[in-house]
Every structure is written in structure tokens, then in C-alpha cells.
């Protein structure tokens, strides 16, 4: 026993020792490695206020990075940095520029480090960043409710008519749900990868999204089947709500960010678009409930689970937003949607076999296509 213990610890000790030796004798020196340090800088947040422009920057240098000068629109500008001094790898600092920015116009910033390397950042449309107030918070809450809760709730109003459907009708609705989910899967993944791209390189954002998606998919699948069989009825609906909820968190984030960075002109259009877009989600969530007798509270709970994250997303998007955290959320969303695709798919197969058929039929093809087309069609209203 003692020996096996030893073999678990010895490799670790050897590893630490070899790293220590490497760092202390510097075996790379004969290679003549004297290249300048690698530098990279990511602007994570941009705040425009009545005192000027503030940037939250994350340094990704191989050594601590020193921001020496800042240009705004091709002019050196006085600035202060908090905290001052060199910014260690993966740390952040605020750069405050008392610059008289111009409403609704574009500004180009250029941050120059002590080695003379420059990093550009563009503010596409300059508008004042919303400051946190209770009335604003309430406003964005309402916005989130319109985008998330209202459409899901409206979709659920179709429930009584779903109950009247026969086996074929049920197949159609389940396939429609699958089509919708397939759309959301791609959409969430794209959103996650896009956020990952705007995050600091060192976080390897796209790998993070894929890895989180795989882990969350397997985790939720395992939890769902922990009783030995695939979830159905109310529990399947709950998983549906959860996964759609995370997707709606992403939508909320995007809308909040749009408002924060001056795309508010699109706000009203977006809200109407999302209401139509997300209606299908409500129908999908209730589809597995057709065989059971859910209470009103169940509907409320499912609506909240699927819709309220949009409110949270809106808040985060407006007031505090780091792309790598958002990318992680989108990764979870991808995993969760994949899990319900598997479960709704298997439920569809079981429903089909009960009425004497297979999962693949003209009806299910029609339903799946309809789901995709509806989602794509309504997305035309919200894509810019």
C-alpha cells in the first residue's frame, strides 16, 4: 500500500523539481531567445460618460504590459490608469480619458505600449453608457420580460389546442419543437463563439465554449436519466424550459449590450421580433405535457424558468458584461439544448412507435422543417 501511495506523489514531486530546475538554470539562454515580449490587449468594456471615455482593458502580454500613451481619433490624449503601472498578464485596468466625444459618431482609439506596439479599438456609435438607476433597472426588467416571459407565456396558450391533437398531430408538434431546438442550438453556438472571439485570447474562448457545451450536455443528460429512464412529461418540459432559459439569457445579453453600445434604435423592432421569435418556444415547452394534467402553477414555473433569464441577461448586458463569462453561459446553453434535442427526439420516437410508425415520417419531416422555417423567418426581424 505504502509503495502505491509513493508512486502517486513521486511524479508530482519530480514535476515540481524539474520546473524549478528549468526556471533556475534558464536552459533556453544558449538559444539566444532575446525577442521582445509578446503583447496583446483586449478592450472588454467601453463606458462613455459626461466626463469622457473609460476603457476596461485586459493585458495578455508574456510580461506585464505598460500602456505608455493613448490616441483618440489620431490625437494623443491625457489619461489616467487605475490601477497605475504595468498590467500583469490577464489582469485588467481602467483607462480614463477626459475626451469630448461626439454623440452618434464613431471614435477610434489607439493604445500604445512602452515598446511602441499599438492596439486599436473602435467605438462604432458613441452614446452615453446607461448608468445604474432604479428606474433604468425597471425599464430593462420590462424589456427582458417582453423578450423572454411574454412570448413563452403566449406560446403556452396553445396548450389546450395541443391536447385535442391526435397521434399524428403530436408527432408534428414534437418535430416542430425539434426544428426550433435545432435552430436555437446553432444560434446559441454561434453567439457563444462570437463572444469567445471578443474575449481575451488567453482564455481560448472557442475551446471553452465547446468544452463547457460537452460537459453540460453530459451532466444534464446524466441527471435527467438518473432514475433509469428518459425524462417525459413535466420533467421533460422542465429541461426544455431550462435550456431555452439559458438561450434567452443570451438574447437578453445581446439586447442589453445593444442598448449599452448605442444600437438602441433597434430596440423596439427587436422586442417585437423576439416576441414572435420566442412564441414557438412556449409551444415546444408544453408539447410533452399533453398526456399529463399540469396545474396553473406548473405553467407559471415553466414560463419563469424559460423567460426570466432574459431579464437577467438584459441587466448583465447593460450594466456589467465580460465576454468570456457570457461565452461560458452560451456553452452551457449549447449543452442544455443538445440534451433536450436528444430527449425530445427519443420521446418523438416512442410516441411514433406507440401509434405504429417510426420517428422518420412525412409528418415529422414537415414538423421539423416548419420549426426551422418559423424560427428562421422570425429571426429575419432580429438579425442586423
Amino acid at each position: 500500500m505504502k509503495k502505491t501511495w509513493l508512486w502517486a506523489i513521486l511524479p508530482l514531486i519530480a514535476l515540481i523539481t524539474s520546473i524549478g530546475i528549468f526556471l533556475s538554470i534558464d536552459p533556453l539562454s544558449p538559444l539566444g531567445v532575446s525577442a521582445p515580449p509578446l503583447e496583446n490587449l483586449t478592450v472588454e468594456r467601453t463606458v462613455l460618460g459626461d466626463r469622457g471615455i473609460s476603457l476596461l482593458v485586459r493585458a495578455e502580454g508574456s510580461k506585464p504590459m505598460q500602456i505608455a500613451q493613448v490616441q483618440v481619433d489620431g490625437s494623443y490624449w491625457t489619461f489616467t490608469q487605475k490601477p497605475p503601472g504595468a498590467i500583469p498578464r490577464l489582469s485588467t485596468a481602467w483607462i480614463d480619458l477626459p475626451y469630448p466625444w461626439v454623440e452618434n459618431e464613431t471614435h477610434h482609439l489607439n493604445l500604445i505600449t512602452n515598446t511602441g506596439i499599438s492596439f486599436e479599438h473602435t467605438i462604432d456609435v458613441a452614446v452615453a453608457t446607461p448608468q445604474f438607476t432604479l428606474s433604468r433597472l425597471w425599464g430593462f426588467t420590462l424589456l427582458g420580460l417582453y423578450v423572454g416571459v411574454v412570448p413563452v407565456g403566449l406560446g403556452m396558450l396553445f396548450y389546450p389546442s395541443l391536447k385535442t391533437l391526435g397521434g399524428q398531430g403530436m408527432k408534428f408538434i414534437l418535430a416542430l419543437t425539434l426544428g426550433m431546438l435545432a435552430f436555437l442550438l446553432v444560434d446559441t453556438l454561434e453567439e457563444g463563439l462570437e463572444l469567445a472571439n471578443s474575449a481575451a485570447n488567453a482564455f481560448a474562448g472557442s475551446i471553452l465554449v465547446w468544452a463547457i457545451a460537452a460537459i453540460s450536455f453530459l451532466t444534464i443528460l446524466t441527471i435527467g436519466r438518473s432514475r433509469g429512464k428518459a425524462p417525459e412529461g413535466q420533467s421533460l418540459s422542465t429541461y426544455l424550459s431550462f435550456s431555452i432559459g439559458i438561450h434567452n439569457l443570451g438574447e437578453g445579453l445581446a439586447i442589453g449590450t445593444a442598448f449599452a453600445v448605442g444600437k438602441a434604435a433597434l430596440g423596439s423592432l427587436l422586442v417585437v421580433g423576439f416576441t414572435l421569435h420566442n412564441l414557438t418556444e412556449g409551444i415546444g415547452i408544453t408539447a410533452p405535457l399533453v398526456k399529463s394534467k399540469p396545474t396553473f402553477i406548473t405553467f407559471l414555473g415553466l414560463t419563469a424558468l424559460a423567460g426570466l433569464p432574459a431579464v437577467l441577461g438584459t441587466w448583465l448586458g447593460v450594466f456589467a458584461f465580460s465576454p468570456h463569462w457570457a461565452a461560458i453561459f452560451m456553452g452551457i446553453g449549447v449543452g442544455a439544448i443538445l440534451q433536450v434535442i436528444v430527449e425530445v427526439g427519443s420521446y418523438l420516437a416512442r410516441t411514433a412507435s406507440k401509434i405504429g410508425g417510426t420517428w422518420l415520417s412525412k409528418i415529422s419531416l414537415a414538423g421539423f422543417s416548419a420549426g426551422l422555417i418559423v424560427m428562421y423567418g422570425t429571426a429575419l426581424l432580429v438579425n442586423f
Binding site: D50, G52, Y76, W77, P98, W138, A264, S268, F384
Partner: protein, 378 residues
Amino acid sequence: MNYIYKPLLEYEKIMKRNKMIFDVSRRSLLGMGLLGGGSILGKFLPRETLAQNPKQYNNHFTNSAVHGGSTTVGDVDNDRNGFSPRDILTDWDGGKVSQLPNGQTLREYDIAVEEREIEIAPGVFYPAWTYNGRVPGSTIRVTEGDRVKINFRNRSRHPHTIHFHGIHSARQDGVPGTLEAMPGEEVVYDFNAKPFGCHLYHCHSAPFKRHLHKGLYGAFIVDPDPKRHPEAEKEARSRLLGTPENQEWQEFLMVMNAFDTNFDEENEFYAVNTIPHEFMKRPLRIERDRPVRIYLINVTEFDPVNSFHLHGNFFDYYDSGTTLTPSLRTIDTVMQCQGQRGILEFSFQEHAPGQYMFHAHQSEFLELGWMSAFEVVA
């Protein structure tokens, strides 16, 4: 969900370029266009929540003392650099003087190329190539007809030359293959100083552009010999360094240069005598009652033209300084192409004391560092 604003922004840009949308109404017009009637949402939300009314953001942004905040931040450590842009203004180098048997004055100089990292703007370090450790290199100031001998050592890892702008033999030209010093080598340039004027010297090794913008340039000033210009002896004496007439003048060397710190063939920093904003942060003091003469040289790379504009005053300009009467009279802006240079003469005698700016009139260069001021004192 990718409602990124780009297409719309492009549209706005195009419309703005074509002046089809006026600023005030632009946003609301677009909103109307997209949703035909607009803010349904607005009816349900507190008004100020989503309101983004245009405001004026042009007041009390900064209490910065320097030009409304339009400046580089901090100061360069001149001691570490080993030279200061202010000293270079008046740091004339007459060389080691002796008489040749024929009575000609011999001026000998030791110039070495060194690769040095210098702080070319506050906190920004640049791997420069230098003549005698400074950018611009030593200001060689001789008199028309002097013999000039340069002992040129190359202590760097690339071949270099000194190419003088002057009248000389092809054998003294300092181009690749002619008096080009390989690393570790030493060559000697030996020629008569002519014509009188405000000239420059620079490295002419290939690749040419890089050897220049890395910092290998300096001023070569040839004062006129009054004896040779009886028709304008007074003017010649005022130019000749050290004469009583010359000491009346306040003379400054200003080398307009720039640095491309990220090597994208565009300059990040512009200045006179290397350090941006130096004479804006600490204006150059001049006495009101003494005339001012500026030896102005443009060695800016990448940008074809640089310029000098003086506030509140006009000057006479001697292109290349090779004449004793002005080539341009009463101007307040002069432009110079790459390698062009000249002499400016002006006086603040009639002026109220105070700060008078001088800078490139390319706003781009001005905002990137080539912005300065005189402090005229009574």
C-alpha cells in the same frame, strides 16, 4: 441573434458622406424607417430609461494644463537618453579646429554609429540607430570653405554611411559601395564645406528608408564667409556663428522628425528634435527684443511633406539657406518635402509677451506630437 449594427452603420456613413442625413434627425429618421411609427415599447417604459437624447459633451472634460488634454502623458527621461531636445536647439558642434599648411581651417569630427534604445516619447522605447548616441546626431556647424574631416566608426551590426548634402566629389558621397563602413570598420570623409546654407547628413545604406527612420540623420550647417560676400557682408556676418552680429540673434536648430514605433510604415510620433510635445509642455523661452533664426530641417519618413506654422507672426524664409536674401518673404507657414530644409527669420519685437504656438499645419502631425510654443518675454 447577430444583430450587429454594421450594415446600418455603413448605411449611416454613406448617407452622412453624401450629406443626405442631417445629424440632428438621423437617428430618429432611421428608427421611423425601420419600424414605421417607432417606439411601441416607449409607451410602456419610463421615459428616461431608454432615452438617449443628444447632449453637449464638450465642457469641463479636463483640467489638463496642456492644450485641452490633447497631449502625451508624462515626461521623457533625458538623462537616461543622454540628450535633450532643448539642448539640441543650440548644441552647435564646431569640431576639433586646426589650421592646414595652406591656411585653410580644418574641422575634425569623430562620429560613431551605435544601436541604442531611446525613449522617443514618454514611456515609449524605440530601438534606434544613432550617430553618437543621439537623434538627431551632432549638429555639424562649419564655415564656408573649411576643410571637414569625419572619422566615421560603425559600432553596429549593419553597414552604414554618412551622406552629406553638399557639393563634393562622387568619391566622398557616402552611398553603398562608396565610403560605406561595414560593422566594426572605420572610414574617413574629407571634403570642403560648400555651399553655405542649412543642410543635413544622413545614412544612405540600403534599405534606405529603414536606415533613415531608425534615426540616422543630423544637421550640417555651413555658415557663409563674409569675405566672400561683399555685396551682403552684413547678412553674412549675422549668420556666421560667434560674430557680434550673430550674437544678437537667438538661433535654434529644429529637426522635424517622426517615429514609426510599430513598424507599419506609418509614424506614431511626430516632433521637432525627437521628443513630442516637449516645447508645448515647457514652451521655448525667447527674448522679445532679439530676432529669431531657426534652422529647420525635415527628415520625416513615410509622409511626403511636413510643415512649420508660426502663430501671431510672419517670417522670411531662405530655402536651403543658400542665399542671403529671402526666397520667400512674409509667410507664416512653410512646407518642406523629405530632406528639404531652410532658414526662418522673424522677430517678436512689436508683440505683447505671451505664448505663441508653432507646429506642423498638418493637423495629424500636430495631434501626434509636433506641437510647440514660444514663451515670448519682454
